[in-house]
């Protein structure tokens, strides 16, 4: 494999720093990823050159910025293989995208007695917006349970589907445990009942190729900042059929065709769902991130990451008293674990002192932590710029933690 991790690491300036006198090991990638220099440079370059407000401007800079902005949208479209650029709505993040779907889809399609299905593995961002819209409309929230091995229980899911089900909203890859959900099967099963499926792909797009047409999902949401792009940008992919039918979400400039004090006519897709000045700089920066990933190849990234994850699992499993959550389940990028009865906060505090960034707590997925009856976990989440040596350093730190709290 022509995948040279040392070469790749050079592209990420933030990786090359010392924390408490030790080289940083960044294992908090599921929270946010580091950015390659090309992304950082692209943002600076934008602000130094074509910075201006997009759409409807007749002047040169505005036209340049609009071209760059729309061609970034086209690039995102191509990357996820959406059929049309109008199916790519720019938001501020995955949470914003999910709120948009829950609110606009919910307003149009949910009523008293209807049902919405989510899963036990969801991030709060894919729970609370559905709770809120269910409460507003009188619909009921149903939750796909877990099997013994912490995967989604598809048999139970099958039984939950019925005429009252109006939408299924499910994560692609769990951020708290790293479990990869069988979204292909879920989509097929739901479509047998003509029920649309929204996939929360915040972690999914990072670790594998996403082809929304092949998946046939109705919506797919993700954030730029977890996918090596800038903060402040998210994507909502939605099939034209649904996006056309749904009412707008936020309102204001950009998203309207004409306004009088009596009546407002909305703009075409995707603009109907994009109001206010968009985050042009960071959208363009995100395009650079996608190009960067394309250059390496997501398939190469996946191979490398899967290998690294396997290495990490083997090494950590060997530590006495260490327990990996959802151990048997298919996984990507994440090892979520507990060390004896040491509180994750205690462990995280000490691991940090070794210059290693892991996350501790419930990872915004409190319900699954409650289900597993743990107070939270220690999560090491990996990217393709991490190395086996870094995992060895984590193991060393864990051993020290075990010793200190013995």
């Amino acid at each position: 494999m022509n995948f040279d991790v040392q070469q790749i690491r050079k592209d990420f300036p933030a990786l090359h720093q010392e924390i408490y006198g030790r080289p940083l090991v960044y294992f908090d990638n599921a929270a946010t990823s580091q950015k390659p220099q090309v992304v950082i440079d692209r943002i600076s370059e934008y602000y130094r050159t074509i910075n201006s407000n997009v759409h409807r401007g007749v002047h040169h800079l505005s036209q340049q910025a609009t071209d760059a902005f729309e061609s970034s949208r086209n690039h995102i479209q191509q990357y996820i293989n959406a059929q049309h650029a109008r199916e790519v709505v720019i938001t501020k993040g995955a949470t914003d995208s999910i709120n948009l779907v829950a609110s606009s889809f919910g307003q149009k399609y949910l009523k008293q007695g209807d049902e919405v299905i989510i899963s036990s593995l969801e991030h709060h961002a894919n729970i609370v917006p559905w709770q809120v819209i269910c409460e507003k409309t009188g619909a009921q929230l149903k939750v796909i349970p877990l099997t013994e091995s912490s995967t989604l229980d598809l048999q139970a899911f099958q039984k939950m589907l019925n005429k009252k089900t109006k939408i299924v909203a499910v994560g692609h890859i769990s951020n708290a445990l790293g479990v990869v959900n069988p979204i292909r099967e879920i989509i097929e099963m739901a479509h047998d009942f003509d029920i649309p499926v929204m996939v929360d792909g915040a972690q999914g797009i990072v670790h594998e190729k996403v082809d929304v047409q092949a998946l046939d999902c109705d919506f797919y949401c993700f954030s730029s900042h977890k996918f090596y792009g800038p903060m402040g940008v998210g994507v909502l992919y939605g099939k034209t059929y649904w996006l056309s039918a749904m009412p707008p979400y936020q309102t204001g400039g950009e998203m309207i065709k004409s306004v009088t004090f009596e009546k407002t006519t909305y703009n075409d897709l995707p603009f109907k769902f994009e109001t206010g000045t968009p985050n042009v700089a960071d959208v363009i920066g995100f395009e650079s991130a996608i190009k960067y990933i394309e250059d390496i190849g997501i398939a190469h990234i996946k191979t490398y990451e899967d290998d690294l994850l396997e290495y990490g699992i083997q090494k950590l499993k060997a530590i006495d008293g260490l327990r990996i959550l959802a151990e048997g389940a298919p996984k990507a990028g994440v090892i979520s674990f507990l060390l004896k009865d040491i509180h994750p906060y205690d462990a995280g505090t000490i691991i940090d002192k070794f210059g290693i960034a892991v996350r501790t707590g419930n990872h915004c997925a409190q319900p699954v932590m409650d289900l597993l009856e743990v107070p939270g976990s220690i999560r090491a989440s990996m990217a393709f710029y991490n190395t086996r040596e870094e995992i060895d350093r984590l193991v060393e730190a864990i051993l020290k933690v075990r010793e200190m709290f013995a």
Binding site: R56, V58, D67, E70, K257, D268
Partner: protein, 144 residues
């Protein structure tokens, strides 16, 4: 003149100008000379969307050829739509559908060809080609 010849003619005319101002002066001239559309066509039905100025385009089939008329409240837009009319009007639907638009690039108006431009040139071309497609189907139906 067929589509190609009209386009070539326009390229030749523009080749006389070497600065943007002359070019735009000429566009303005052409805008002023545009045969105006009948007022009855100045309705939302004929309005091209995506332009900062309002542009209306109507089309009729006359003897197997498409006759376009257009108007706009902005003169430069009128000039641009006039260019399109000179190339497209009085041509058979297939020729319009197949028309090569590189002349726009050649006369230095390439920047107007971006789909994100607020002048709506791309929308105008799309609308005119759409009319041609409709008329082509109609002719085929009549022929059949």
């Amino acid at each position: 003149m067929n589509v190609e010849d009209s386009a070539a003619q326009i390229v030749k005319e523009f080749s006389l100008f070497d600065d943007w101002m002359d070019k735009y002066n000429y566009l303005i001239e052409m805008g002023k000379s545009l045969p105006l559309i009948d007022e009855k066509y100045k309705t939302d039905q004929y309005l091209i969307s995506g332009c900062q100025s309002r542009v209306w385009v109507s089309a009729e089939l006359v003897d197997g050829k498409v006759v376009f008329k257009a108007d706009s409240d902005a003169v430069i837009t009128k000039g641009i739509v006039n260019l399109l009319i000179r190339v497209f009007s009085n041509q058979p639907p297939e020729d319009i559908i197949d028309a090569d638009l590189s002349f726009i690039d050649e006369i230095g108006l390439k920047e107007h060809l971006s789909p994100t431009r607020s002048n709506g040139l791309v929308s105008m071309i799309k609308q005119m080609k759409l009319y041609a497609v409709v008329f082509k189907t109609k002719l085929k139906d009549q022929g059949a």
